[in-house]
């Protein structure tokens, strides 16, 4: 039998472990979900902020471009410029323009709270879109030799055109310029007669830290590449984004110097000048830092949850396992009690076995001397030389040795019963027949006075049993009924069916057994208090009861009143064997 107490702490541990596992799993899943959700939200927020920045920058650029176009269109309407072009006075074109544009060239257009707008150069295009060369270029902004070609257009535009180009160094460092070409519309013909092209240095967008704005045109970046980033990498990426036809396209540029969000957007769509694109690089470092911080926070949260879960699991496991532990404790006590009981039982059974063995041994050892003694006495009884006066004495001794033999045999049988060693071969037994044969024997007993015997019960009463032992039980009962009967009292035997049993009742006219005695009459070596002169040795009823139990039946005292004592023997009923036939009938 397994010891129950040892598994109680194991139960609590397992419960604790399961709760911890579940809580931990939930915490991990929750943390993963939260992390994913928050990451996505952060990334979206970052993308939105970048987009906002881009849109704001673009809007600023557009507003500025529109303003520049407006300024240029105003200049292109100046009467002197028209006069020079329309009144056959080309020689006065650039001088007049110098007059008109000098404020713009000197940045004098700036008003309060407005950024200074300063033009870098300007030129006029003729009807074919070619640059009309100025006489004194220095007055109108010096341009590197041959670079003027960039300003030219396939023809005169009907509408303002914008372009962005890198102006290589002429005097100082080169710069990126925004080019605005506005047509000069004749006040006479209302068609373009020339175009005014003005170059403005590209406004440095006030980029927030981490953001960079650049201009890309004709396959390369016109502006400086920020930081230590690789120029071809960025240029190729932009080129591929543009070739995909993405307008306002965005992507993530992963470089050795960190990740950037790259947004490319056209700056001069539908212009006659080569298309230029603004590109915005936004370092993803803040986002990544934020994500890392978020990860740490989520991780910390998960840990806190797990720790709380541990504590909760501990409490819950303790509370939940308490009844189980109590139960286990109780069962442990019970176990110990049972163990003790079993030990005691074991000891008892050993004792019993020892006692039974002792009885068996003792009986066995006694049988031989008694047999020898009886043989000697019988020899003595037939000796002719034995004086006649001794003969009754010897005969009495022989009778006593007979009793002794029976006692020894009963003891041996009982000790076998006690030790459980009695193997009984069961067979159908006709109880009526057994009784008849017993009555026959009883009638020839010489020493006892005769008691009239009545037998009741019609039909066959077959029981399952051993013929010898069944006979022994009934013999015991009959001897008992004879011994304790009053003088001249009768004996009544009745056979009857009670359910699956056959009941054999044996009554006599003996004295009443006191209620205190009734419980003890089946004890070993107990003899009726009334009969000191009654022969017997107090084993008969005990042996009869043990044998009845061995047969799966029972022997009980039914009643004991004045002048009537009745026992009942219940044995399992059995169908009579038909094929074999009954050798007695």
């Amino acid at each position: 039998m397994p010891k129950p107490g040892g598994n109680v702490s194991g139960f609590r541990g397992r419960l604790f472990l399961i709760i911890v596992l579940v809580v931990g799993l939930l915490a991990i899943i929750g943390a993963a979900l939260a992390q994913r959700h928050l990451s996505a939200a952060s990334e979206e927020e970052f993308a939105n902020s970048v987009q906002q920045h881009v849109e704001a920058s673009l809007e600023a650029h557009q507003v500025r471009q529109e303003m520049l176009v407006g300024i240029c269109a105003d200049l292109a309407r100046q009467p002197r410029i028209h006069a020079a072009l329309e009144d056959d006075a080309l020689d006065l074109l650039y001088p007049s323009a110098a007059n008109e544009l000098s404020p713009l060239m000197n940045g004098g257009q700036a008003q309060e709270n407005e950024a200074v707008i300063r033009a870098g150069f300007y030129r006029f295009l003729d009807m074919r879109g070619k640059v009309i060369p100025p006489v004194q270029p220095r007055l109108h902004g010096l341009l590197p030799a041959g670079w003027e070609g960039f300003l030219e257009l396939p023809g005169l535009p009907e509408n303002p055109q914008t372009g962005i180009a890198f102006l290589p160094p002429a005097d100082g460092a080169g710069e990126v310029v925004e080019i605005i070409a506005v047509p000069v519309i004749s006040t006479e013909t209302f068609s373009p007669i020339a175009a005014l092209v003005v170059g403005f240095p590209l406004q440095k967008t006030a980029a927030a830290p981490g953001h960079f704005f650049g201009v890309w045109s004709k396959g390369s970046s016109l502006t400086r590449i920020p930081g230590n980033l690789s120029r071809p990498e960025i240029e190729n990426r932009i080129a591929s984004m543009i070739s995909r036809g993405g307008e306002g396209d965005s992507g993530i540029l992963r470089t050795g110097r960190g990740d950037f969000r790259l947004v490319v957007t056209p700056l001069n769509p539908d212009s006659a000048y080569p298309p230029a694109y603004g590109y915005f690089l936004s370092s993803m470092e803040p986002l990544q830092e934020r994500l890392a911080r978020l990860r740490r926070q989520v991780l910390f949260g998960a840990l806190v949850v797990i720790v709380i879960g541990l504590a909760a699991a501990h409490l819950v496991a303790r509370n939940m396992s308490r009844p189980v532990e109590n139960l286990a404790l109780a069962s442990e006590e019970e176990y110990h009690q049972r163990l003790r009981a079993e030990l005691a039982l074991d000891a008892t059974s050993q004792e019993l076995e020892r006692a039974a063995r002792f009885s068996a041994d003792a009986s066995h050892q006694l049988k031989t001397p008694v047999a020898v003694m009886r043989a000697g006495l019988e020899e003595l009884a037939v000796d002719r030389e034995l004086p006649e006066r001794l003969r009754p004495e010897v005969a009495a001794l022989i009778g006593q040795t007979g009793r002794l033999t029976r006692v020894i045999e009963d003891l041996l049988l009982l000790s076998r019963l006690d030790a459980g060693r009695l193997a009984v071969e069961m067979q159908p037994v006709d109880l009526g027949l057994v009784i008849d044969s017993l009555l026959d024997d009883l009638s020839i007993l010489p020493q006892n006075e005769q008691h009239p015997v009545e037998v009741e019960g019609e039909g066959n009463f077959w029981v399952r049993g051993n013929r010898g032992y069944t006979s022994l039980i009934l013999q015991s009962l009959l001897e008992n009924a004879t011994k304790y009967n009053r003088k001249g009292g009768r004996i009544r035997i009745s056979l009857d069916r009670e359910g699956s049993f056959v009941a054999c009742r044996i009554g006599n006219n003996g004295k009443a057994i006191s209620p205190g005695m009734q419980a003890r009459i089946f004890e070993r070596f107990h003899r009726g208090a009334t009969g000191e002169n009654v022969p017997g040795y107090g084993l008969g009823l005990n042996l009869a009861r043990e044998l009845a139990r061995l047969h799966g039946g029972r022997l009980e005292l039914v009643e004991s009143r004045e002048d009537w004592t009745e026992f009942v023997l219940l044995l399992q009923a059995e169908r009579p064997p038909e094929e074999e036939g009954n050798p007695w009938t």
């Binding site: 009467p79 002197r80 329309e86 009144d87 006075a89 006065l92 006479e188 013909t189």
Partner: protein, 219 residues
């Protein structure tokens, strides 16, 4: 300002009378020049506006200028004429003058005007001035040709001065009819300015006391 105009008109009529009386042997030319039809009903005030159509400056309603070209002796200083800037237009919008004429440009608006010309016949720039400007800004037109007047401030303002190297010129009516009297006899070229791009010419032989009918035809 009105005083000047009246004065100029009187002077013109006086000169006409003198010429009429001085020469009885003068020839006369009358005829028509081809003008586009007047778009508007009869105009009460004789006041033209320079318009451009297809890059060609002309007047609305259309009028032409006819003059006799040849070698004529100098006839002293021509009178001083005026082109007034009033209601943001030049008045008159078309003014034929003889070479050497001084033209004053009074400003009768309460605004700055800036009269200038980039025309090869006369380049000038009077700068900005208000009506109070004295003396009245003026220019001598001493080279024959067409001068386009512009205002640097008001880009729509235009006027045309035809500087003619001849004392004999006349402005047609809106149907193109003209008549010149008291002309010296001889062989000349009669020219007719239709618009900024079109000037017609016909050789004429003038005889004293006779009236020559001339009809210009367009190309």
């Amino acid at each position: 300002m009105l005083r000047f105009a009246v004065w100029a008109a009187l002077q013109l009529s006086f000169m006409g009378l003198l010429a009429d009386r001085g020469s009885t042997t003068g020839a006369t030319i009358e005829g028509t020049v081809p003008l586009p039809p007047s778009p508007a009903p009869a105009v009460m005030a004789k006041r033209y506006e320079i318009v451009s159509k297809g890059g060609i400056l002309s007047t609305i309603p259309p009028v032409g200028v006819v003059w006799l070209e040849g070698n004529f002796p100098e006839e002293g200083n021509p009178p001083v004429l005026q082109i007034v800037q009033k209601d943001f237009v030049f008045d008159p919008a078309l003014l034929p003058v003889r070479v050497g004429t001084v033209i004053e440009f009074p400003n009768e608006d309460d605004e700055y005007h800036n009269v200038f010309s980039y025309s090869p016949a006369k380049r000038f720039d009077l700068g900005r001035y208000m009506p109070e400007e004295r003396p009245i800004p003026s220019q001598v037109f001493d080279q024959a040709g067409m001068v386009t007047l512009r205002c640097d401030i008001h880009e729509h303002m235009r006027a045309i001065i035809l500087v003619i190297d001849s004392p004999y010129f006349v402005t047609t009516d809106t149907r193109g009819r003209f008549r010149m009297e008291e002309l010296p006899a001889g062989d000349y070229i009669l020219k007719a300015w239709i618009n900024s791009r079109e000037t017609l010419e016909i050789p004429v032989r003038l005889e004293s006391g006779k009236t020559l009918q001339v009809t210009f035809t367009g190309d």
